[in-house]
């Protein structure tokens, strides 16, 4: 039986927060959709990390496992859709960069 105290929980939350912020910064700085996909996966990794202290509450342990499974499967599904969208975007626009957006001849 493994027990965690507040220090351990703090380390986990701080690590999760740092990875989440780095994911946000990567998403903001991204110039193509593949970097955006990578940053989304990092953010989901931070979410997985933030779920660990939920397992420490005895009555919530089974529910936490259920939440972890739902999170992993749904995030995988979302990323699968994004990967397909990248393929379709490249096929239709012949470009995967996001720094230039063209709308009706205007460049934003």
């Amino acid at each position: 039986m493994v027990a965690i105290d507040m220090t351990t929980a703090s380390i986990i939350y701080v690590t999760s927060f740092v990875i989440l912020l780095i994911g946000y910064l990567t998403a903001i700085s991204s110039k193509d959709v593949i970097r955006l996909l990578i940053s989304l996966e990092m953010m989901f990794g931070a979410v997985f990390l933030a779920l660990i202290p939920l397992f420490s509450v005895a009555i919530l342990a089974n529910a936490a496992f259920g939440i972890a499974i739902v999170t992993i499967f749904t995030s995988s599904g979302e990323l699968l859709i994004l990967i397909a969208a990248i393929g379709i975007l490249d096929r239709q626009k012949k470009d995967i960069h996001t720094n230039v957006i063209k709308i009706g001849g205007d460049r934003v």
Binding site: V2, L25, D32, M42, N62, S76, L80, Q92
Partner: protein
Amino acid sequence: MEVWVLIALAGIAVLSSLGVLLSKDNFYSSLYMSATLIFVASIYAIFNLQPVFVLIVFIFVGAIGIVTVAVAATYRSDPESQFSKPWAVLVVITAAVVGFAIYSYKMLNPNLSSSLIKFELINFMAQPEYLILVLSLVALVVLLLLSVLKMVAGGTED
């Protein structure tokens, strides 16, 4: 001892996530991302939560992460720095504010540090509703995969 292992794993995870941010090439960036997720999963493993470790490593890294690496390797172009300094300043300020909030919470509530909380992952697989949940999620992913295949095939016809 375990706290030091946790700190080491967390530190390596943060360093590899910094590698994602600072790497210019998307291919290396996706490799660093896979390493970050494996270290996040190994933090689950040191808390004796091996089922979640297996799910993250096999499904998230093994399936989605490898596809991301493959996509990044396919669309490999001239490396270009993708790091925004103005946004980095804002992110560091936010991190400092939240870090101070966590620190001050612990300082103002010293009694919390002595309370131990235990993991109890009991009889999960014996509960039928969770088995149905897992089955429905697997069916959901299979359906998503089929619809993605149909979407991509539809794009080919155009």
